[in-house]
């Protein structure tokens, strides 16, 4: 099993959460800590980078919803990059793509935060 690691890069008012490995119920702590770190650094936009993600299941989608709730309460913006076609489709089926702003590239996401 690969587990989850999340590195946080802060770029101005945006924080990029680089997710590697899997996003499942076991990822709760890693994602929660990364979000807390981004927020305490003052990030207004949280960009989830899925390009290193190997696997996500429905529990992982549940974690995205939890993060979305926190982001909306804090008045931040949640974005996603690096999603492959399959997971884009899943985000679309769950309508999460209406609340999470999906971009093709990191540059496009950062431009949209400005």
């Amino acid at each position: 099993m690969s587990g989850t690691t999340v590195d946080v890069d802060t770029l101005g008012s945006a924080a990029i959460l680089r997710i590697r490995g899997e996003v499942t119920s076991a990822s709760e702590a890693a994602l929660g800590e990364a979000y807390a770190k981004a927020t305490s650094a003052g990030a207004r936009s949280i960009v989830l980078d899925f390009s290193g993600m190997e696997y996500m299941n429905s529990s992982g989608i549940g974690l995205l919803v939890t993060m979305l709730i926190r982001v909306q309460r804090a008045g931040q913006k949640l974005m996603a990059i690096g999603l492959n076609e399959h997971y884009r489709q899943i985000l679309s089926l769950t309508r999460l793509d209406e609340a999470i702003h999906i971009h093709d590239t990191e540059a496009a996401a950062l431009a949209a935060t400005a």
Binding site: M1, S2, E22, A26, E54, Y55, N57, S58, S59, I61, G62, L63, V65, T66, L68, I69, Q72, E85, H86, Q89, I90, L93, T94, R95, L96, E98, A99
Partner: protein, 552 residues
């Protein structure tokens, strides 16, 4: 804690009551100084809890603390005052309070001078790191002891295991036999055996006990002795496994079972008859073509009353058999990629036999895993080749792939009902359907659906109990690919995606629905059809169907 005594001698600050340290690290109680030698010098041993206000105060204090000047709401401080302590010397190293010295009033009735305090501070600054080092040394010693125990257990497991591996290979005319067993560091429960039967027949066993270490080794030993005693009496492989299952069910510890393949070889006729209790299926090589022989049955020790099918194949001159355990096919390369059945099937298709073949397979495994691989599981290989017709490799016609018959079985799998195994189930199904040629996007959707349905079956059907398996069958016909996922329904019936409530994102964001609860919805969206069926045998089954008739 000799240095504390030397404090009392060298300074003349003879305290009364005597000095003592108090361990403030909850894991280092041994650092607390015991009672002094004489009753009159016995000091208080007062623990300061990390949640006590005094703890934070001492941790931040820049030197000795006068008890009379303290105003803190602290249970420890009340006790310390009551014991007559006048001065507390915090022992802080790297920002962490690791102990404290308590000093009573000076015996000379004078107050502590600033010289006294300076000396105490100097001593504390030197003593604190020394005590911390002592604590670390002690922790290290405990850790080393634990390691040694573990190492000893591993040695014991290895020893048990090796007692029961065959010391020699059967000497069969016209057959070349070789076997390999490589234990993982943690020693899994692999075993193999050759049993002499009447009329020159030979029994061949390859098995794997779930779990590792001594418990697995003991179950392996028990299985070994059951098979040794039952095989000559019952002969028929199906009957031998059914009997072993009955005996093992009665005594199997929770969370364990045994996968096992038992075969009887008639060397002269080349007849190979086997039954299978959830173990990897054997491969037969004829020229370059490698086929898998199939026989179904549940692992041993899970539930009584199981029946084991028998399959017979005739091994012709120049043909080979390969029996193997998970350790090879489930090895991972540095990128997390699994070695897998297709690769083994392909690599077995070389004109080698005996130890040369085994060496070739192990070399290929090492090429795959890279030099830094730590073997994940025990690894067992048993191979037999019938000699003669050496030209058959070149002459053998390439076998055409079998026609896609209605309901051909691609995979039968029993997954222990432990959370996390859904990904293994997903990978195994993906491997099994590789030959069907689904479009990549549809394969991804099937994988997600299988993983979600298997996760539900594990979480609810088995309630996460590894000893309650989830059964997965994959079949393909001209019209459709079907994955059947059967569970024991401990947590209630499988929800029907057709009638289940659709999760609503707005309601979840507003806190009206739980953030989770997407699984059933996703399954319904990912595959062409989902049905829930009762059976077989009191199980309930989710049937996932991918249509193969239309274009993707």
């Amino acid at each position: 804690m000799a240095f504390i005594k030397s404090l009392r001698r060298s300074t003349g600050v003879t305290p009364s009551p005597a000095a003592t340290t108090v361990a403030s690290r909850p894991d280092a109680a041994g650092a607390a100084v015991g009672p002094a030698a004489t009753a009159t010098r016995q000091g208080p041993s007062i623990e300061i809890s990390p949640s006590d206000a005094l703890h934070a105060y001492l941790q931040a204090a820049s030197g000795v603390v006068e008890v009379d000047k303290l105003e803190l709401d602290s249970p420890a401080l009340t006790e310390i005052r009551a014991a007559g302590v006048k001065i507390i010397v915090p022992l802080v190293t790297q920002g962490e309070l690791i102990g404290a010295l308590y000093l009573g009033p000076r015996l000379s009735d004078q107050d502590y001078s600033s010289d006294d305090r300076r000396l105490l501070n100097t001593l504390a600054a030197q003593a604190a790191p020394a005590i911390r080092v002592a604590q670390l040394v002690r922790e290290q010693a405990i850790e080393i002891q634990a390691h040694e125990r573990l190492d000893q257990e591993l040695r014991l497991a290895t020893l048990i295991q090796q007692q029961f591996l065959p010391h020699s290979l059967p000497d069969l005319a016209e057959w070349q036999v070789a076997a390999y067993y490589g234990p993982a560091r943690a020693v899994g429960g692999d075993f193999y055996d050759f049993i002499e039967l009447t009329d020159g027949r030979i029994g061949i066993v390859v098995g794997d006990v779930t779990d590792k270490g001594v418990p697995a080794a003991l179950i392996m030993a028990r299985t070994h002795s059951i098979l040794r005693s039952e095989a000559p009496r019952l002969v028929s492989p199906g009957a031998v496994l059914a009997r072993a299952n009955e005996l093992l069910c009665a005594e199997m510890p929770a969370n364990m079972f045994v996968t096992c393949l038992y075969a009887v070889l008639e060397p002269e006729a080349g007849r190979f008859t086997f039954a299978n209790a959830g173990h990897n299926l054997p491969y037969v090589r004829n020229g370059e073509s490698v086929t898998e022989l199939r026989a179904t049955g549940m692992p041993l020790g899970l539930m009584p009353g199981m029946v084991y099918d028998e399959t017979t194949a005739t091994i012709g001159a120049g043909e080979s058999l390969l029996l193997y355990s998970d350790g090879l096919v489930e090895a991972h390369d540095p990128n997390g990629e699994m070695y897998g059945f297709p690769r083994l099937q392909q690599r077995f298709g070389v004109d080698l036999a005996g130890s040369e073949l085994i060496d070739r397979l192990l070399d290929d495994l090492r090429d795959f895993t890279g030099p830094h691989w730590e073997q994940e599981d025990d690894l067992t290989l048993v191979t037999l080749r019938r000699s003669g017709a050496s030209g058959s490799f070149a002459d053998a016609p390439a076998d055409a792939p079998p026609p896609r018959a209605a309901g051909r079985v691609l995979l039968e799998l029993a997954v222990p009902g432990a959370i996390g195994n859904e990904r293994m189930a997903m990978d195994r199904v993906a491997e099994a359907v590789a030959s069907v040629g689904l479009a990549p996007a549809r394969l991804e959707r099937l994988k997600t659906a299988v993983s979600e349905a298997a996760m539900n079956a594990i979480e609810y059907g088995s309630e996460g109990r590894p000893e309650i398996p989830v059964l997965i069958t994959v079949t393909v016909s001209d019209e459709a690919l079907r994955v059947r996922i059967s569970d024991h329904g401990l947590g209630g019936p499988i929800p029907d995606p057709g009638t289940s409530e659709v999760p609503d994102l707005e309601a979840k964001l507003a806190g009206l629905q739980k953030p989770r609860g997407w699984g059933i919805f996703l399954i319904g969206q990912m595959v062409d059809q989902v049905a829930v069926e009762p059976g077989p045998d009191g199980l309930q089954t989710a049937v996932l169907t991918m249509d193969l008739t239309g274009g993707d």
